[in-house]
């Protein structure tokens, strides 16, 4: 069963704007990860944040994690047309090896 739930389900913005995606989950976690998927095929790992971390940066990406609210957000700054893709959050529970993904969020960046 899928636990993570991304919000909004779809987002359309102009190039140069920032995009924020939110993820909520239901259980305790070891870490939370964000992936990108183009054209419904392979997933590309973007960033991992551990349960004892609150914020993490990687290039134009910024991820926050609030374990008390069981939520995370992914911010993409200065978006580009190439950022157009589906984005998934995935949680890893303690003692488990399997990632549990949300349904995903489709981001469209218009040039």
């Amino acid at each position: 069963s899928q636990q993570g739930e991304e919000d909004p389900q779809a987002l359309s913005i102009q190039e140069g704007e920032n995009a924020t995606m939110n993820c909520s989950y239901k259980t305790s976690i070891n870490n939370l990860q964000w992936y990108r998927q183009n054209s419904g095929r392979g997933l590309v790992h973007l960033i991992l944040i551990r349960s004892n971390e609150r914020e993490k940066h990687s290039g134009r990406l910024r991820v926050t994690l609030d374990t008390s609210k069981k939520s995370s957000s992914l911010l993409i700054t200065a978006s580009r047309a190439a950022d157009t893709a589906s984005y998934f959050c995935a949680i890893l529970q303690g003692g488990s090896e399997k990632l549990v993904f949300g349904k995903g969020m489709k981001l469209t960046v218009n040039p």
Binding site: Q2, Q33, R41, E97, K98, L99
Partner: protein, 115 residues
């Protein structure tokens, strides 16, 4: 190649047939995972191998699904008596050693269509 390789990229079969999907993990990665992604959904876990053994097969939907990894490298996902509901993209991932620190790297997937 440097990444996870899955073959075939597309597979069309008829209801009731048997199919095999292959995954070549990144060289040196001991952990291998299979996921299934239906249209409009996120990937769902099927099975996890550490080396040659299936450490967690809790995601396999029923006994028509089986996976092997006999030499601890290449894995094959086998589906017997395929049903139309099996149509999905089957994704394989590998990681260096499993565990929370290890990132899972995904292949491009096999799109299975059962007619």
């Amino acid at each position: 190649g440097a990444g996870v390789s899955q073959t075939p990229s597309n597979k069309v079969t008829e209801k009731g047939k048997y199919v095999e999907l292959r995954c070549d993990p990144i060289s040196g990665h001991t952990a291998l995972y299979w996921y299934r992604q239906s249209l409009g959904q996120g990937p769902e876990f099927l099975i996890y191998f550490q080396g040659t053994g299936a450490a967690d097969d809790s995601g396999l939907p029923n006994d028509r699904f089986f996976a092997v990894r006999p030499e601890g490298s290449v894995s094959t996902l086998k589906i017997q008596r395929t049903e139309r509901g099996d149509s999905a993209v089957y994704l394989c991932a590998s990681s260096l050693g499993g565990g929370a620190k290890n990132i899972q790297y995904f292949g491009a997937g096999t799109r299975l269509s059962v007619l």
